[in-house]
Amino acid sequence: MSPNYWEGELEMVRLLLRFSEEIVDQPIVSELILEFKAPINIITALVNSKGGEVLAEVPQEAADKIVKALRKRGVKVSLPKLIEVDAEKCISCGSCVALCPVEAIAFDEHASVVFNKEKCVGSTCSACVDACPVRAIKSVKQTNHELSYTAAKGALGKQ
């Protein structure tokens, strides 16, 4: 019996998927959702007839299998870095706010800047990082799982 990835609190891993012109019209993601019975959340997608770049989130336990399957189907997989904001350092100036394309950074009602990690698309964007005057925003590797190594190696090896 395959494990049920839909239940409980899931540790998710973010993956950056690159589809070439040849495979962009194939329903690869839907196939894998069915095959592994695991959620694959699409966070952002930039797709046209020439190919596509998709930022997706998969459960950590299924990540290795999914990455393997994706690569078998010709998808280039890499691990994007995540953005972290150090609330201790942040002075709530707002320099980052208007730069964010997905409104992951905003002012709350007390004029404090709050960062919504879920909404942030990560290192593929990074628009805010070099705009922070006190360097409170950092790009960090996703390290809490084993995939970091294999995925990074795979990405290097194939590109």
């Binding site: 002075i91 709530s92 100036c93 707002g94 320099s95 980052c96 706010v97 208007a98 730069l99 002012f107 007390h110 004029a111 404090s112 800047v113 628009a127 070099d130 705009a131 005057p133 006190v134 360097r135």
Partner: protein, 507 residues
């Protein structure tokens, strides 16, 4: 009761009266934001009667900031010539061991990321910093060099001495260019996709007393988390255009790193965020009215920082209310805007100052001289003529896309140039070919110009400063830029050779 009735209604109060109330613990203090609400919900008369002091605050990047330090003498003594602290060059404007740390001086090993602002923050935090200094040696100061580690406790004096702080209001910046630019107004996306502004608007100190009735030399203020003083108007101060500024001083040993933060503006440089708050004594109804000023009454210009000239184009007028709302409108374009200064910190400063006064630890001072109302901010007098692209550009040798490589080769030889600019029938730019492209094409047996010309061409505008064109050529490793107007019509060409001749001669 009868006696009271006979007393005339008093419509002024003095700083001495306010200080007496502070001493007794019953001075009425409101932050500037609270004052506006009170006036709105009651009246100026009521606000004047009820409020003794209004506190203001601002927290922003203030580049003309720095600290004077005195190191004491070493044995044998040294008359410092050049000095560095944590690799940041520190000036030595005075005698042997007095130094000035400028907020914008950048570390020689970590340029852009660490500078005078960070150094001041580290010292304020109590961190140890490394001092290196060299000297030429004199009979009385024989030493040639020194290296030592210091904290603020080892310094005799450590004074913040800022020559321009607390701008009354500031520009809102956008960028019309096709590329992202990094400025002292932060990161500006291409084609006006974002805007930045600075300043606390209705919480700003000078905006709440725009005629400087109570502000001048000797006014005690909140500076960097401690008590400091205004020592005069800041540089570039201009009252009549609502561009007043402050020169301030305070004991940095008593300050807090929360209100003094070193900062880095990517590809621009380092600076210091300074927290500053001024108490406004409500001496009369006029001041009650002035401190009721709202964001919607404070305007500033939207300025195009994409144009690297002194007179940058002003594109629109916006209020601080619009700025704080997160979006402004320029023409029919809605632009997302965010601040570089911190409203949250500005509020915290106004609130802290209010608390100090309520607790009786902060007393007001009357200025010995008010800030001037008549100074003007003049542009620099330039005795050398500045060069713009139009001053050095030459006639461009042009061609049509349909021509053959051979013809172009002949033209390169006959005109003795290295670049031929391809134009359409209307004279508009479509590409460029270099003598190198032509040589290679002939070697490869290519005959059609259309196959070899570069279509993505870097260009220059006639009114651009020459340095910008020179920088663009160096960045893209190219040796010439066609000069075009807004309609892409070719006006000429500027080559790196011509630029080097002119810029080289000047240095």
């Amino acid at each position: 009761m009868g006696e009271l009735k006979l007393k005339p209604q008093k419509n002024t109060r003095t700083i001495e009266e306010i200080n007496a109330k502070i001493r007794k613990g019953d001075a009425q203090v409101l932050t500037a934001e609270e004052m506006k609400k009170l006036v709105e919900s009651s009246s100026i008369e009521v606000a004047f009667k009820e409020v003794d002091v209004v506190t203001t605050g601002t927290f922003g990047a203030m580049c003309s900031s720095g600290a004077v330090i005195n190191l004491g003498h070493s044995d044998p003594p040294i008359k410092i010539d050049k000095a560095w602290m944590n690799d940041v060059p520190v000036c030595h404007p005075g005698a042997a061991v007095d130094l000035y740390i400028g907020a914008t001086a950048m570390s020689e090993t970590q340029a852009y990321e660490y500078g005078g602002g960070h150094l001041i923050e580290d010292l304020v935090k109590g961190k140890e910093v490394e001092l290196r200094a060299t000297a030429y040696g004199t009979d009385c100061y024989p030493r040639n060099s020194i290296r030592t580690n210091l904290t603020k406790d080892d310094l005799n004096q450590f004074y913040l001495l800022n020559f321009r702080n607390g701008y009354q209001r500031y520009n809102c910046a956008v960028n019309s260019r096709d590329e992202t630019i990094y400025t002292y107004m932060g990161k500006l996306l291409p084609k006006m996709r974002n805007a930045t502004y600075s300043g606390a608007g209705e919480l700003n100190p000078l905006m709440n007393d725009p005629d400087y009735e109570t502000i001048g030399i000797g006014t005690r203020i909140f500076l960097g988390g401690a008590q400091g003083y205004i020592i005069g108007e800041g540089t570039q101060h201009e009252a009549k255009s609502q561009n007043g500024t402050l020169m301030v001083r305070g004991d940095a040993k008593k300050m807090s790193p929360e209100f003094l933060r070193g900062a880095s503006f990517t590809r621009y440089g380092t600076t210091l965020y300074v927290g500053l708050g001024v108490p406004i004594p409500i001496l009369n109804e006029g001041l009650a009215k002035k401190t009721a000023i709202r964001d919607e009454e404070i305007f500033t210009n939207v300025v195009d920082y994409g144009v690297p000239r002194r007179n940058r184009p002003k594109l629109a007028k916006v209020s601080y209310k619009e700025l704080k709302s997160g979006a402004i409108t320029v023409g029919d374009k809605k632009i997302r805007v965010s601040s570089l200064s911190s409203l949250k910190m500005a509020r915290q400063i106004a609130t802290t100052l209010k608390k100090w006064i309520e607790e009786g630890t902060f007393f007001l001072t009357a200025p010995v001289e008010r800030l001037p109302l008549d100074t003007t901010f003049k542009p620099m007098k330039q005795t050398e003529t500045t060069s713009f692209v139009k001053n050095v550009m030459q006639m461009a040798v042009t061609c049509k896309e349909t021509e053959e490589v051979r013809t172009i080769a002949e033209r390169i030889v006959s005109k003795s140039v290295n670049h031929i600019v391809a134009v359409d029938n209307a004279g508009k730019l479509i590409g460029i070919v270099t003598s190198w492209d032509v040589t290679r094409a002939m070697a490869q047996g290519k005959t059609q110009l259309a196959d070899i010309m570069t279509r993505r061409v870097f260009t220059a505008k006639p009114d651009e400063p020459l340095e910008m064109a020179s920088k663009r050529m160096a960045e893209h490793n190219i040796s010439a830029l066609p000069v075009i107007n807004d309609e892409k019509k070719v006006l000429g060409i500027v080559t790196s050779e011509d630029v080097a001749k002119l810029l080289g001669r000047r240095t």
